[in-house]
Symmetry: C2
Subunit: 509 residues, 2 copies
């Protein structure tokens, strides 16, 4: 690992952490953050040393408290700073003496409110000591494997009724890196990802990004084995040229999906007063992202939907999609959306048409089923019909991916087709995404079962179509820029994961 990455690594794998501004006062950020670390240490998740720093306390939650950072007898890799902005430079000076590698500055009151000089002072000190800084005005890092959790938002909240409820949950370990300039969007994303059972490899909120920014993080994630997909929320891009360079390298190795907000003039004004970002022309961003293979999401739903598809499925190696449905109307809606997105739903070639005709002749699927793409098995669908049809469609060399609309409302459909279809899909190096509409029991069961088997499931036809579009976009980028080996590796990896997920889910079942 190159030197700059080694220091970045201290944010995720520190051997010792000091919390500057730790406190016993329950509602304070300095308490929440220290408690995150102390709980993780007691539970054996965080395995390093932990030092609370506060001149007014002797101990916090059973840990010996130090008056200052300098008082800590041992080395300190990472400091988390929660003291008021004007006290931060002093802490940073001490950090140089302690040979601290990395600092997360949670404190606000810097550039985002006009205090540019204070922020520049902090940066100058950090540079002098070779300390990498995350923030200020940020949430910092959540990394479940080593128990790093600098989020000042407690996992639960107590209502005025006295009820304790989940408020800012931490997601399970997984393969998605979630990177964000906005802390609020970050905490919302953690909540969303947890609820949708999407696992996270690394979470980083860098706020004002006075030092560590998207370019550094991309460099780190390029090497990070745990991360398969990068989701990033940005309001501006620093170091444009470097960013483009590393992005180009990164996207050939793993897909990157972005929300770049502050698009129009009013949005840019709002972004400026938020993280001090200068948003710049939106069209330039569009062109730049596309050039380096970053997939830009048009909204929050598409952001997470695309991330889920790219984390679970191989890229699509062409633009022609097969639709397999038991629901006519939603089938038409899917075709509509795919066409709007520039994909095709071409009529099958004669070979595939003939194979479907054979199934009809043998009475295996209904005579009234439409079988020229979309394949509409109608409300009389059975589990076996779905599985057989999916197999035929995957065999067609002109089909680059399948959208399966398995509306569970059809009386003859049981849950058996879910596992069986996934088994069929795992024989082919082509992506499949699915949709079932509804918000009650059977819909939730169906979608979550597919998700667990690494086939991304969506609640509307258009969401499924957009997820497929992301797989097509990424596939096209790899074809244009990547080597064949690189593409094959993506496909192999995704298929391997689907098989593992299948095995794991089957055991649990």
């Amino acid at each position: 690992m190159e030197e700059s990455l080694q220091n970045l690594d201290a944010f995720f794998n520190p051997r010792s952490v000091a919390i500057i501004g730790a406190t016993k006062k329950i509602d304070k950020a300095g308490h929440v953050i220290f408690k995150n670390f102390s709980t993780n240490k007691l539970h054996g998740v965080y395995k390093g040393e932990l030092y609370p720093v506060n001149p007014n306390e002797d101990s916090i939650l059973g840990f010996k408290c130090f008056k200052t950072l300098s008082d800590i007898p041992d080395t300190v890799d990472l400091i988390v700073i929660i003291v008021p902005g004007k006290a931060v430079p002093g802490v940073m000076e001490e950090a140089i003496a302690k040979k601290v590698k990395a600092a997360i500055i949670i404190s606000a009151g810097f550039k985002e409110v006009g205090n540019v000089e204070l922020e520049e002072e902090v940066v100058a000190i950090a540079r002098k000591g070779g300390i990498r800084v995350l923030g200020p005005n940020c949430l910092g890092v959540y990394y479940s494997r080593t128990g790093i959790d600098s989020l000042f938002l407690p996992e639960t909240k107590t209502l005025t009724t006295g009820d304790e409820v989940v408020a800012t949950p931490r997601p399970m370990p997984g393969s998605i890196a979630m990177i964000t300039q906005s802390g609020a969007f970050g905490s919302a994303a953690l909540d969303y990802l947890t609820g949708r059972q999407m696992g996270v490899s690394k979470f980083v909120s860098f706020g004002n990004k006075c030092d560590v920014n998207e370019t550094d993080i991309f460099r780190y994630l390029y090497e990070d084995e745990e991360t398969k997909v990068v989701l990033i929320y940005l309001e501006d891009v620093k170091d444009g040229r470097e960013f483009m360079e590393i992005a180009k390298k990164l996207t050939l190795k793993k897909p990157v999906v972005i929300i770049k907000s502050g698009k129009g003039s009013a949005g840019a004004r709002a972004a400026a007063s938020h993280t001090g970002a200068i948003a710049g022309s939106d069209k330039i961003y569009d062109a730049a992202f596309s050039q380096v293979g970053i997939i830009r999401a048009r909204d929050m739903a598409e952001f997470f939907d695309a991330g889920k598809a790219l984390a679970m499925q191989p890229p699509a190696m062409g633009t022609n999609i097969g639709i397999l449905t038991d629901a006519g109307g939603p089938g038409v809606m899917t075709v509509d959306e795919l066409e709007i997105l520039g994909l095709t739903v071409n009529r099958f070639n004669d070979d595939t048409l003939k194979k479907f005709q054979d199934l009809k002749d043998k009475g295996l699927i209904l005579k009234i089923a439409a079988t020229s793409n979309p394949v509409d098995l109608t409300g009389s669908v059975t589990d076996d019909q779905f599985v057989m049809s999916a197999d035929l469609m995957f065999q067609d060399p002109d089909i680059n991916g399948i959208i399966l609309l398995g509306l569970h409302h059809m009386p003859g459909l049981r849950e058996k087709y879910i596992d069986d279809t996934v088994k069929v899909a795992s024989k082919y190096n082509k992506p499949i995404v699915m949709c079932d509409i509804g918000e009650t029991e059977m819909a939730l069961y169906t979608r979550s079962r597919f998700d667990r088997l690494s086939v991304p499931a969506y609640g509307s036809p258009e969401e499924a179509a957009r997820a497929m579009k992301a797989l097509v976009t990424y596939g096209a980028y790899l074809k244009r820029n990547g080597t064949v080996g690189c593409i094959e590796e993506h496909i192999e990896e995704a298929k391997e994961e689907e098989k593992c997920a299948f095995a794991a889910a089957t055991v649990q079942h």
Copy 2:
């Protein structure tokens, strides 16, 4: 009520119903439908007479069974036909003799599979006898107040594990009419609406619409007191001129949101093999809908989101929106989406800016809060700050509606602001929609509480923005075409409902 509407009314308020093709066989449509009616009759929901018709049974579920429709001694208002297609003309001939007013033909095998003549024969017989026909190839009607339920999709399903789960739930009574050409989309919509707790006034699935079509239904819903908003899924429009005429009348009285699928060439091909629809040019539909004030949704999410907003809130009387947030990033995302949708987020006038400065001077809101629109109270938000700020913003004559981003992750925010903000909103004749991001406990609680208080809540900034756009679009249409009285009525109605919802929810709390 004019005569044609009287016969249509027999679909919803029949004094007697005969189920032609009722059976004891548990998996058959004829069993599910008969059981729906018999259960509703036993529970006192369906209050009319009920007659199963099947030549091979003496009784079904305790009801005396008749060999033929003609054998029923009393009058029959409504028949539901589940027998095979070729037997339908015979049933319809009998229906003339029985002076039946309305027939729901569930049976498929007509125009959608090329049997045009059979369908025309049925239509000819119906015309001769003055019988109104819904279908064929449809789900028919669900009307909770009188217990009409011709849906052959059972509410629950038994998995292979032996577990019984909710599959096609029926939504609670409410003010949204859900009309659909696609049965599958209809059943999915029922599932979605139930899960999102959106109440339905009338559900109609008309499939091939050989007789009753969107024009008839619009005419009926124009008079229907229970329906406040119409959601309709169409693949084609019959009787274009009449449709435009009634739509124009209807939209001045209540908002109509449409999904018109079969947009491109492949979509149109898919629609043709689905309900035999000839989709026509999509741009013509766009222009026509806009001319008569029908709001066209770009996808399923927007369809339901717009419906919810229009059912709960008054239309917006201008295009300038105020944003009130505790989350900077999501605030910027909201501004972005509003700008893309052609709405504005203008800087407040001096008067409002001064009022916010006063709040800052008094220490009631943070000095670092952004208060020029968007109002970003930052992560240090409290309940009271939200309520005070909302009140100021509503007072501003240049603000036509408010999007409230209440991300619950902020530590100082409790649930108290929800009821308090709704109380403030109910003083003004302007719409408010809200967003909280997340999929775990506190997010679900927050959104559902707002929903119950008739403030529509959404899970992403862009969804909230699009919902507001629907309120703006409808307001602009009313201003262009309606009378002032008509607009005031909409506003009064919406506000009245919000107050009632508030009272009801408060009692339940």
